[in-house]
Structure formats: C-alpha cells, structure tokens
Symmetry: C2
Subunit: 400 residues, 2 copies
C-alpha cells in the first residue's frame, strides 16, 4: 500500500452490542488521553495499587496476586496455564464452546495432558461428568472450565465445579472473561484458584488488558514449580516483582500506561455503581431484550436457568442470510452484533448487553433495527411487536 495518501483515522461511531468490545463510556475514553507517565513513576505505583484494590473488589477476593495482565484475554488465559501446568501434568478441561477448546490447546502447548469433559454447545458444564472424570483420574492436578461461554451465552456453576475440584485435590482455572462486572464472580466464596477476565466486556473498557487473580494455593503451586514457566513475559514469579506489594518495584516489562488509566476509570465506575447494582442492571435489560426477541418469534439457544444476561445467543430465522443482516445493521444503523462461532456459525447471532452498552436505549434501538431489517428481508417474524414488548417489560420491571 502507498503510504503517502494515508490520513488520520477517524472511526465511525458504532453501537457495540456484539460479544465485545462493548460500548466504552466517555469517562473511560477521556482517561485514555491523559498524559503518559513512566512505568516506574511513584504516581504510577499509586495507580497500580488502586487498580489492584478495585480488581479485588470486582473479583470479590482478598487475593494479593490480583492484577491486569498487559495483553488481551487470550494472554490472561495463557498466564493461568503456563504458570500452573508443568510438563506431564494432567488437566481436566471442560469444553462446552470455543473457549474451552482453546483451554485444551493451552494445556497441550504447556506439555500437559488434557482430559476432556464435553458438553453440548449452549449447555452448562455438567458437574456429574466432571465428578466422574475426577474419580477416573485421581492424578489430575488442575480442572479448567469456562464460567461464561462467550461463544454460546451459557453460564456454568463455578461454585459447584470449584468445590468438586477442591474435594479431589485439584486447583481450578476459570474463564470469567464475559462474566466479570455483569454477573457474580465470587472468587473467595467459591474457592476459585486462577481466574482471568477481559477488559472489553462488562467492564466496558477498551480491549487489550486481562484482569487475573490467583489464590494463595495457586501462588504456592507457582512458587514450587520444578520447571521454569515457558513464557518469560507471562512468568508470574517475575511479574510479581513488578506488581507486588513491596515499595520497591522491579522492572519486568513496560506496563501499558494509558490503557491502565482507562481500566482504572472503568473499575472506578463499577465501584461507584456497585457490583450488585451492575448485576441487576444486566438482568433488567436482558429481560427487556428477551421480551422483544420472543415477541418477534425468535428464540434463545441457552435454556433460561443457565442463560447469561449479557450474552444473548438468538436463533436466525429460517432462510435468512445472517451475515447480510449484520451487514445491514452495521451499514444502516452503525450497530454491531456478533456472528455465531464454530458449529453455531450461520445459525445464531450473539447480542451483547455488556457494561455501558447494557442500557434501555441500546435494547430498544437494537430491537427496532433488527425488526426493520428482518421485516425488510421477508423473514417469518412477527413484525412491529418487539420494541413495544421490550418497553412494556421494562416499565413492568421498573414498577411503573
């Protein structure tokens, strides 16, 4: 490409209702643009300490090792595996969607042996199957599963799965990328050991950072490793020297200063709203969206008790080219919703209601746009019902 013609990039203003990134609050965008300071500046150490404390709040934990990894959620996942899995270790991996499968990849690339417990895409992880695997593999050292499967919108029961793992002497690695800030992640109460999340989902921060937290048991395991962590960049023995509690921080890598300004602001907003209020908000607007989706005649692929309010996988009406629908929504409405992944490609849309994007405005806008586009394409839906149904549900929920 000829570079002489390149001009400043001015992105369109989208409404982000896919599987993430979600809409970023103006406060967070403004924070990103604050002046850069050094990654060893005493004021930056203050920022780091506050981010750690705010992440402890978000994760509901007192874990000392609670920090943002300087890279996206996939690197947060990898941080958990490379630090806790040594060559030859047996790891039980529960797979019920894309991200469970990625966990298996991680185990194998660490030289571990993955024992797979499979459930259908859209279902939660079955605790009975996990228990059977734990009994069949008493030498397993780690259990890994996804609490909130971003590819399907199914929620698994972390409390039960972690208790089971602990009873069989296993540590747990849990993916809460889509959960954190939208639905409960009770790290200490549920006895989770290594937990990673993403910045760009219900925290409504920009993508690029991955909050993680490790229990004392997990930290002890890391300190007792017989082999070096295969990643220098993600080696928590080294990272702890920089993010640790001592006054003197040892340089490891250069932290992403401005993105951390954004994360601080996003976490502060979550603290100001209150976790419980944020969870309630996600449910309230999910119910409004659900009323609209069902009034249209579409359905959810995840059964109610295990459905995540923030990630709504909705079936595509028969005979409709789903990609064309998304294209029209993007072009005509500047509205982004997500496609299906893997076996669900072409069959579902994933509508995100995450963080700042989880609002009445977005619910009504999305339903109106989807209704109009589908009607225009001759889809077999009930046209013109969705917005009113959502509005009625919202008024009802608000006690009006």
């Amino acid at each position: 490409m000829e570079t002489a013609a390149i001009a400043a990039f001015t992105p369109p203003v989208r409404t982000l209702m896919g599987p993430g990134p979600s809409d970023v609050h103006p406060r967070v965008l403004a924070a990103l643009a604050r002046p850069t300071i050094g990654h060893l500046d005493p004021q930056f150490v203050v920022l780091m300490d506050e981010i750690k404390a705010l992440l402890q709040y978000a994760f509901m934990t007192r874990n000392e090792l609670t920090i943002p990894v300087s890279a996206p959620g996939s690197a947060g996942m990898e941080t958990c595996f490379v630090n806790l899995v040594e060559p030859g270790d047996k790891v039980i991996v529960c797979i019920n969607g894309v991200f469970g499968a990625r966990m298996r990849e991680n185990v194998e690339r660490c030289g571990g042996q993955a024992v797979v417990v499979e459930d259908a895409w859209g279902a939660a992880v079955d605790a009975n199957k996990l228990e059977a695997a734990l009994k069949a593999h008493p030498d397993a050292k780690v259990v890994a599963f996804v609490q909130a499967e971003t590819s399907t919108g199914a929620e698994s029961d972390s409390a039960t799965l972690c208790a089971l793992a602990q009873r069989h002497g296993c540590l747990t690695i849990v993916d809460t990328v889509t959960a954190l800030g939208g639905t409960p992640v009770r790290v200490d109460e549920w006895g989770m050991d290594a937990v990673y999340a993403g910045s760009q989902k219900c925290l409504s921060c920009t993508p690029g950072l991955s909050p993680v937290t490790f229990s004392e048991r997990a930290v002890a395991r890391i300190k007792q490793r017989k082999t070096k962590v295969q990643s220098w960049f993600l080696d928590l023995n080294l990272v702890m020297g920089y993010w640790g509690s001592s006054q003197k921080r040892t340089y490891h890598h250069t932290a992403p200063v401005n993105p951390l300004y954004g994360m601080h602001e996003a976490l502060l907003m979550l603290r100001q709203e209150g976790l419980e209020n944020a969870w309630a908000r996600h449910w309230r607007y999910h119910l409004a969206l659900r009323a609209g989706i069902e009034a249209m005649g579409l359905r959810f692929i995840v059964d109610e008790p295990r459905r995540l309010p923030q990630l709504n996988a909705v079936t595509v009406p028969p005979g409709i080219d789903e990609a064309q629908v998304r294209q029209r929504l993007l072009q005509d409405y500047h509205l982004e919703i997500g496609a299906g992944l893997g076996g669900l490609a072409g069959k579902v849309w994933r509508i995100g209601l995450m963080g700042h994007a989880c609002s009445l405005k977005n619910v009504l806008y999305c339903l109106g746009a989807l209704d109009a586009v589908l009607t225009g394409m001759g889809a077999s839906i009930n046209p013109g019902q969705a917005v009113a149904a959502a509005q009625a549900q919202w008024s009802h929920g608000a006690g009006k």
Copy 2:
C-alpha cells in the same frame, strides 16, 4: 486497600527523558480517545492495513508479515523466539547488556540451546566473536542480538552481523526496540529476518504494543515447524489469519483497538516528518545534549562511533547519590530520566531523546535542571556551562 476513597486518577504532567516511555504527542493522546469499534469491523480492517503499510515504511521493508503484537516489547521479543526456535535448536545469542541476557532466557524457555557471545556493557557486539562462534557451531540455526541496547545506549552493526549470520545459514532475530524511528533499521537492505520494536520509544506512542516484521525466510521456517509454537497467543500461524492479507480475517484474539488508533497516528506523524528527517533530528539534539553534558564535565559510557543519539548513558559524578538526583528532578522539575540497570546501577543515568521528546526545549530543560540539582548537591561539575554550550552547538548545527 479500602476502595471507597478512590477517585479518578489524574497523572502529573511529566517530561519523559528516560529510556521510555517517551513524551507522547498530543495528536497521539487524542487519537486514543476516539470511539472504540469492533476488532472485526470493516473499518478496523482498513486501520489494520494502514498500520501494516506504515510499519513497512518505518522498518524499510516489503515483508508481508509486518504487524504490531498486541502486547509490550517483551512480548514482541518472545514472539520472535517462540516462533523461530524449536526444542533442541542451537541459537547464538550476543549479549552486551540487559536485553541480550533476556534473549538467552527466551531461548532456554523455548527448549533451545543458547551459545553466548559476550561483549562488555557499553560496547557493540563484536563481529569477529560472532564469526568465531558461527564457525565453532556450524549447526546453529539462529543468531540473536540487540541492535540498540536500551540498557547502555550502544548500537551494534546490524548490516554486518546479519550478513555474517546469513553466510553461515542462520536466521537473525534483532531487537530494535529503542532504534525504530530514531536511527536506521533497514530490514530488507540488511537482510534482517525477525525484528521487534517497541511503541513507547522513538515512535512516541504509549507503551503496550510491539511492532514486528518477519522475512519470507523466517515465515517459511515458521510454516515448516515440526512442533507447535508453545504460545497460543503469540503463534504467528494463527495471528497471520487475523492480520493476513485475505479479505476474510479469522478471529484470533481481540486486538487492542484504541492503542492501535494511537499507533496509527504516531506512525502517520513519522511518515509525515520522513524517516531521514527524524534520524537527523535525533542526531542534532543529541549533539546539543552532548555539548551540554561535556561542558558540565560528565562523560558518556559508549564510545562515539557506536553511540545511539536517542539513549544517552552518562556517568554519575563521584560521591553523588544518583537516585537522589532523579528524585529531585522528578519532584522539582517533573522530569524523568532513567537509572542504570544491572552492573551500571548507581553509576550512570540514561537520558532519552526519543521521538517527540527529542526537542530543543527538552535538551535545554534537562541540562538546566541537572546542572542546578548537581550544583545544589555540591557535585564536582562545571556549573552554569551546560545550557549555553548546548545552545551554541544547536545554533552552530542550525547554521545560525
């Protein structure tokens, strides 16, 4: 820490003249705050293509695989090693500072066998020693070295070292973190194979991204690997599907959207200034700084022909507590300069003149502040000479 009392973080406005991050231009900060779009948005694909083209310009290469890794420079380094080194591979690592030593760590964590060629800190890599090592180890597959040692300010001769490596059938991995945008990095002309840089040095972008470029030879090696890359996140076979040239981008990880806005703007500014002009600017202000430093009676630890203009390692006067000097500069002048690392800790300061921070204003301010603080502490320097000497050198250089 109690979170209830945490307020918005408002960083102080520093002058960043350490080893990076350097001062970020207001245009780059403003770009960071632009509205977030999805990482698969068609407009985002436009941004990705433009960033690739601008990076090709900065690296002086036509390499197709020229992208920013979604993490800091240390992850860029790791990307090169995990993709090019397989277990058992012999890698010649040239060490003349902190970052060469980190390269050896990377080789070993990939299961490779590191053969070390050592030079003194502050010296350049000795081509004769490398040649001897290549002759002694005809089975070596890769040569790794640091073109611009951020820990000392010494520049090694990439053209000669890469030609040597190529003559012995080795690929090269080259660290240009501190070089890119400040001094020449002629990837194609010099036959470099895998090159990584940082966003927060002479590109004057915020920290958190690492531009990398890979030759066709390197890409062929990666495609022919017998083993999987040990990092899923950094596996270029997968990353290429997302950053590749095809119209259809395959989701790998969620790219750090807003930091990439900043990188686009920073690269655009480099393109608008012109590489050659940027290099000349770094030399011109280095010469002004040098005049001031020498007028004060301090000296550089790197000999002239191999001295990087953008990273000035300067000796601490005898009897002076260097940390106290930096503390006063930070507190009284909001000016950050860098400490020495490793064996140079306590003995040198590292004064950065990188990218947007490489200006007459910064040179004069830094010299004035250092002069005043050192004089105040009773250091044996020639007081009151530095600023005038720099000013005279600058006027002379400007032909005035």
